[in-house]
Subunit: 480 residues, 2 copies
Amino acid sequence: MSDTSLDDIDLFFKARSVAIYGASATPNSVGQSIVQNFIKPQYTGKVYGVNPKYSSVLGVPCYPSLQEIPDPIDMVIVAVPAQLTPRVFKDIAKKKTKAAIVVSGGFSETGPKGAALENEIVEIAKKNGVRIIGPNCVGVIDTQTHIDTFFLPEHRCGRPRPSNVANISLVSQSGAFAAAIADWTAELGLGISKIISLGNKSDVDDDDLLCYLSDDSSTQVICYYTEGYDPLQGRSFFNTAKTVTPNKPILVVKSGRGERAKEAASSHTGSLAGSDRVADAAYKQAGIIRAENFEYMFDMAKALAMQPPAKGDRVLMVTNGGGLGVMATDAIEVLGLAIPPPSSNLKEKLQERLPPYCALRNPIDVVGDGDSQRYDAVFEETISSDEYDIFVVGMLLQTPSLGMDITNHIANYSRQSGKPFVVISMGGGFTTKAGEIMELMGVPTYATGEKGALAAWALAKYGEIRYGKDFRKTADFDKS
Amino acid sequence: MSDTSLDDIDLFFKARSVAIYGASATPNSVGQSIVQNFIKPQYTGKVYGVNPKYSSVLGVPCYPSLQEIPDPIDMVIVAVPAQLTPRVFKDIAKKKTKAAIVVSGGFSETGPKGAALENEIVEIAKKNGVRIIGPNCVGVIDTQTHIDTFFLPEHRCGRPRPSNVANISLVSQSGAFAAAIADWTAELGLGISKIISLGNKSDVDDDDLLCYLSDDSSTQVICYYTEGYDPLQGRSFFNTAKTVTPNKPILVVKSGRGERAKEAASSHTGSLAGSDRVADAAYKQAGIIRAENFEYMFDMAKALAMQPPAKGDRVLMVTNGGGLGVMATDAIEVLGLAIPPPSSNLKEKLQERLPPYCALRNPIDVVGDGDSQRYDAVFEETISSDEYDIFVVGMLLQTPSLGMDITNHIANYSRQSGKPFVVISMGGGFTTKAGEIMELMGVPTYATGEKGALAAWALAKYGEIRYGKDFRKTADFDKS
């Protein structure tokens, strides 16, 4: 343990010195991949290997045991066969290291023998105040400190980056998913702060990380993938969640709706999936938003990370494409949000500023030859009217009459209004780039009407969770 | 009309000579954009402009009227203000041209005055055997003949390409959607044969195109976006569809589920959205698969274009990631497909060929260190067992133990088995490229478990539509 003490969970993300148990000179081995992560210049802490076979691995000094390392060690990463781990944990205890990530498999997920081994290391750890992530996991990525125990080569598994706007942290029970999501979000350009793979949750569980991430200033939205809860762990998780959700959104994807999936989950991480309906009710009570799948979760998380929650559920849609207006309002209505038409007073004001062939319903259609001035007119009048809580902006860029200045205009009104904005922009190359620009300016942008509608719903749903009775609810947006 | 006669609808896709009414020298104008499309070297027919102001536009010879063009004209594209169109149609009639795409707006979608104009041109056209696409549309893209009336510049609106494997054609009521989808599918790498924007459907309607596309050898799957049907047009469309669907899949996205969207649709293309439930029932009866949105439609269309329909609903999932197995089988089960465990006989065979820590349920988990030989063992045994109708293959490439040879292996088994295969591969850069390679070999690949499950469902659903009573149905896969 180092001098300035770090909170126990903090060590997993901020360790200033790490030792890799099972560091290996064998190319592509787990023990080598992890060493490779820590010798990247971005990681500024100290790195050691533990393996009696080597005196150094990739230039990293290697020792037969932790004891012999001349420095204090904040965190140990354990990548040795399961049957060796009890010995390793005795070594960890002697070294007074307080954090261990066990990436090895062969524990409770394989049956009673493995479960016994798992109990053995947990007991040693508990007696000595050592926290464990895993076993049977890929560990932790922190995009700021560059702690990275994912033993997957970067050319196969890209690493996400933090964003200047807002960041998401993800806790995943499944290691393969944690890796696939790291790789996926690296491409998506979503700002990621931390990804944690929990594996068998022998010690550190969803609740521990929730407590930690709720206070983590670099995490704006907390996401979970879970296959189920241990009843006791589940209870404490939901109790904590209740206190967190008014301040920070929590989203979850939970598998195991079907019987088949429940079985698979139990063989995968030894989880008891339990009743899915019970989980659903608990999510609702705790203010956790459940997403049907990862895509939806990240679509919602992006909106919640970038935009303020809505103070009511009245959506205005403005678009330059009629079909997009139809599709998006359709989806918004199916999700139960309100789409009130502009009042006659507001309509008059809009009529003065827009050509007569623009449709002044909701959606407001500035039509195919619309430019950013028409959007301006709509934003100015509708924002000052205070008739709407959420703005959904259809931006079809296939037509050259809409210049790229529209991106600045939308970003400005979004900031000025203090109300949440969501952009829908369908298309290919040019459109994709424009969407990336919108998001660099903090406005979440989606490729389809349904995704945009879902983002609006999440902003309203989380507004209700945050503002409770002060949330203006005019429609039954919880029906879906 | 040319010498070798083309079927009337054929002219819209194969015109060997076109005249652009309203060809213009003004940069970025509609009349110029269309000329630009036809002077690309890919279009091998003859091009003329009609505009008394010019003798040539971008090097294309321009005449004051159609009459003066020295060649026969297969198709006219009309891009002049609505009030001039009756005169244009008299000119078309005299020239004996039989196909006209009217891209101009200002007709029935704007009210009674516009409707009167629309009636006027339709009457002239009917009397003289001229077929009309539009008005209020962007017309037609044919990726093989390079007929392209989309008046949107290519840097803003990419153009899709045909694929060597199989192609989709899309009929869209909305022009903006047709453009956005052209642009989107250009990026997706989906093989597209034709995109048709119907606009006000004053003459050529969904049914005409269905008759045409059902016989079109370059279209393997027919997709529609519609906001509603005219009762009469609707009836003939559904009657035709009934005869088409046993031979070619038809997918549809129909908006207008909500009240708000119905209103917007009526102001957009003058459609009567009608009861959504009635449409739903009609889709079912006609064997048309309704998708909730464009993403789902293209996900399903890709599978149906690339793979044979399933002869039953028994899905086998094989994966190297436990979490992915859980998520995907969850989604498959929610969609109501059967996921039977392997028989004890099959299990024994698998046990002989796989390490003991592989899970031999359904999903079969060849686990994180699985290589293509393990997949081979699963494919060989499960295909020859004949216990399954659809194969869903989870392929997580973050782990280096799975080499790129897996793509060839999957493609080979897919071809040999004669049964539909679907791949799920989540991740970023490397994974995306591998997915593109899979699809070049004809196996549809998806980024999430849910999308893969939906693809499997579509293959089963269409199998049921095609094989009727011979389809093996063990579960209620129609419940969703």
